[in-house]
């Protein structure tokens, strides 16, 4: 009987990545003076889970490294090894290496064994420094070594054994011991083979599987024996069996408690449901329209029922949307580590404060937020927070503070990165802008000056470091954020620090749009881009090089005719009878000429590229209440830059 191991691999990779995250988080928060035993246990458990899983699947690179890691952690939690910042650093570096290895296995690419050996050597160096008293107690240790030694040496056999025995799911004494398959049904079978093979590392399972009961863990005398793995990996399989039954009860308890947790669902499935619900909303609105036409008693009943239906559908819609939402802490959690490492490199003392990590953001947005946020945080650390001497000279506390905050404000999510550093240097930015040939003048308001740093190739850093300062970046940051319908603002006070504020829509699937009409066609302009709509007076229209421009808000606005851009046949309405929608995206500001405004509406964005191809000036399509398709205008793309540059 053969089992497709690949399905387990995916689960293993996912879980291992999660374990690594947990480890990193905990390692970052651990205090070296008095580490919380519970935290140490959790880190240990995570390392152990990865080791167990990798052993079963034959991912030797992982097994070796986690094994040594485990040894150190075990010593630490038994107070045999004093944690120092250096050790934590090495452990953190190891989690990075593990991440890389997992990625390699996942991509089926080549593994950098040298890196692993180095990592191992670093870890072992710690162990050798602190040999402790464990050398004297070798007898008790052999039992568990074979359990692990087995994984180390013959992973392939383990795998085949796992598949051969997969039908025998009866005895599950140690199901939870490896902990890495909490929700995969196949896991029991895989771990069970250990028992069948009678090489079960029962004693240490005791220790590992049930850390939640620290007494059990500490009561096992041979915990300290981990230090020996490296010395006697090939110890014979031995008297492990008798102890096997002991942990059964706590195991059952533990798994029962976990049942209430979550399940993994493919995002494609969720997207599918979201799509279908979108359809349902449209059908429902059509139904309501038909309902209005029915008279009499049955019409009343019908409409009452339709009302009920629409309420239910709205609730379903909210519920499905919430399925896509995940906590913003998914991105935030990477920053403590980043700040810790960076602060060290830059020789600054920085305190990172994270607020509102529980704010929920659409999953697809979270993924795209990671890069720009990383960039901004790095910037705050490198450019924002001043060097130590400067801070002290300015009478500021030695430790700089960076606050990373997320909150929901109405229909949008606001993420801000605030530092108490020197603030942006207005003169320097202006100077740089002039030398870059940008169009600036000395009297520009601060906000406009700050916006200059988003220009490509702009950096005011005196020296290019490996952290930042190359000037590639802020323009990319802005682009990335605008790609997810967001905007970014800067406020800064010299000597007191700067704040970067990112504003994002709640979800990408739905936007607020202004429905406009041109001839018989309806178009949607995203509300986010709109500054104002107005009916121009003849005095406001000026002609400049054969093009009409609009004088409004103390500026000339280039005009773009939607009629012309969308190639609608027939003659457009005269300008004086049209409506002009002033829009802004990035640095582009212009007016779109339309015939009429139809109203504001929330629209579900549908891909035009799914069955057709990309169309210039169109970002997607949507289905209106009557079932017809309307195009959504891509404000950034509608007008070519050169068309606007004349007035710019």
């Amino acid at each position: 009987m053969s089992v497709d191991m690949n399905q387990f691999h995916t689960v293993f990779f996912e879980e291992s990545t999660e374990h690594l995250q947990t480890m990193e988080e905990l390692l970052l928060n651990i205090s070296t003076d008095a580490p919380d035993p519970e935290d140490l246990n959790s880190i240990f458990r995570a390392a152990h889970s990865i080791k167990g899983g990798s052993g079963i699947f034959g991912f030797d690179a992982l097994t070796g490294l986690t094994h040594v890691m485990e040894t150190i952690l075990d010593k630490a939690r038994n107070n045999e090894l004093d944690l120092t910042t250096d050790i934590v650093d090495v452990l953190l570096a190891t989690t990075d290496t593990l991440g890389v290895i997992i990625q390699c296995y996942q991509d089926e690419s080549d593994i950098d064994w040298q890196q692993i050996e180095e990592g191992k050597a670093n870890l072992e160096a710690i162990l050798n420094e602190d040999t402790g008293g464990s050398d004297d107690t070798p007898a008790a240790t052999t039992e568990e070594e074979d359990g692990f030694g087995f994984f180390d040496d013959e992973p392939s056999e383990q795998v085949s054994a796992a598949s051969a025995n997969s039908a025998e799911t009866t005895e599950s004494s140690d199901d939870d011991s490896f902990g890495f398959f909490d929700d995969a049904p196949g896991s029991e079978e895989v771990t069970n083979t250990a028992t069948v093979e009678s090489k079960e590392a029962s004693t240490d399972d005791d220790g590992f599987g049930f850390f939640t009961e620290p007494t059990t863990a500490q009561a096992i005398p041979d915990d300290e024996a981990f230090g020996f793995f490296t010395d006697e990996p090939k110890a014979p399989p031995a008297k492990a069996k008798p102890v096997t039954k002991k942990p059964v009860k706590p195991a059952a308890k533990q798994s029962a408690a976990k049942d209430t947790g979550s399940i993994r669902v493919d995002t494609v499935k969720i997207d599918n449901v979201v799509n279908l619900v979108g359809e349902m909303v449209i059908t429902q609105s059509i139904l309501s329209m038909i309902g209005q036409e029915v008279d009499g008693n049955s019409g009343e009943k019908l409409n009452a029922t339709l009302e009920e239906l629409s309420r239910n559908i709205r609730e379903i819609q909210e519920a499905t949307m919430s399925m896509r939402m995940i906590h913003v802490s998914f991105v935030f959690n990477r920053f403590p580590r980043l700040v810790r490492d960076l602060a060290k490199t830059l020789n600054k003392k920085i305190d990172l404060v994270i607020e509102g990590g529980e704010t929920e953001v659409d999953k697809s947005m979270i993924e795209k937020l990671a890069d720009p946020l990383t960039h901004l945080v790095r910037n705050s650390l490198d450019h924002g927070i001043e060097p130590l001497e400067k801070r002290l000279a300015a009478g500021k506390p030695e430790v700089g503070t960076v606050i990373l905050k997320a909150e929901q404000r109405g229909g949008s999510i606001v993420i801000s990165i605030q530092d108490d550093g020197g603030g942006l240097n207005r003169d320097k930015i202006l100077e740089k802008a002039i030398s870059n040939g940008l169009d600036v003048d000395e009297s520009m308001p601060d906000e406009a000056v700050w916006q200059l740093i988003f220009a490509p190739g702009f950096s005011t850093a005196d020296a290019v470091t490996d952290v930042s300062g190359r000037g590639v970046g802020m323009d990319v940051v802005r682009k990335n954020i605008e790609a997810i319908q967001g905007s970014i603002e800067i406020s800064s006070t010299a000597g007191q620090g700067s704040t970067f504020t990112i504003k994002l829509p709640l979800t990408l699937a739905i936007i607020d749009g202004l429905c406009v009409s041109v001839a018989d066609e309806t178009y949607i302009i995203p509300l986010l881009n709109i500054i104002e709509s107005l009916q121009p007076t003849t005095e406001q229209i000026k002609t400049l090089a054969n093009d009409n421009v609009l004088w409004s808000r103390d500026a000339y606005w280039p005009l773009v005719s939607l009629h012309q851009q969308m190639c609608i046949p027939g003659k457009p309405k005269p300008l004086s009878e049209s409506i002009i929608v002033l829009v802004e995206v990035g640095k582009k500001r212009y007016g779109i000429i339309v015939d009429q405004l139809l109203g504001k509406q929330q629209v579900v964005i549908k891909s035009l590229e799914r069955h057709y191809r990309k169309v210039d000036g169109i970002s997607g399509a949507t289905i209106m209440g009557d079932g017809k398709v309307a195009m959504i205008i891509d404000v950034d793309n509608l007008a070519k830059t050169e068309q606007l540059s004349q007035v710019g």
Binding site: L276, M566, K606, E609, H611, Y612, R613, A621, K628, V629
Partner: protein, 172 residues
């Protein structure tokens, strides 16, 4: 869809090595396309126009939540007067995991053609370039031109697929 597939099974069982074609009229000619690619047949409904599209791409429609392009083969191959009324037919096709609708004059029949019955296509005299043709088949009431609809729809000439995308953008 269900009825098509069950019918298909029935016919396939009775005729062995044959393929089923949906025949349709374009002008005076009778054409056939592999029925396996037909998703459904609908009446023509008003479309939403797309900017910068060639005239044979009528626009897009909402097919149960999917935004689907509609190609009028009559305009593309200049075979007949393109009129749109309640009798105008749209064949919805599944092509490489996408949905595309084609407008034809009418849909006539489903026929079975065995491999031996397929003759090589003529080099000229057909609205379609011969590289889009599978061959000719004779049926009771004349000749049917068998179109390789997948090759036609994905071709650069129609230009609605991604491979064309970049080239189009380059030229625009």
């Amino acid at each position: 869809m269900e009825s098509v597939s069950s019918q298909e099974k029935l016919l396939a069982a009775s005729v062995g090595e044959s393929k089923e074609y949906l025949t349709f009229m374009l002008g005076e000619e009778q054409y056939g396309l592999a029925i396996i690619q037909v998703k459904e047949i609908r009446g023509y409904e008003p479309v939403t126009k797309i900017a910068n599209a060639p005239d044979f791409i009528k626009g897009v429609i909402n097919l149960r939540g999917d935004i689907v392009p509609i190609v009028d083969l009559r305009v593309k191959f200049k075979v007949s007067e393109a009129t749109y009324n309640e009798f105008t037919i749209v064949i919805m096709l599944n092509v490489q995991d996408r949905i595309v609708g084609i407008v034809v004059d009418s849909v006539s029949d489903v026929i079975n053609v065995t491999e031996e019955e397929v003759h090589p296509p003529p080099e000229f005299g057909v609205a379609f370039d011969s590289r889009y043709l599978d061959g000719l088949a004779s049926v009771d009431d004349g000749l049917v031109i068998l179109v390789n609809i997948e090759r036609l729809i994905t071709s650069e000439e129609i230009g609605i697929f991604d491979s064309m995308n970049q080239q189009n953008e380059g030229s625009v």
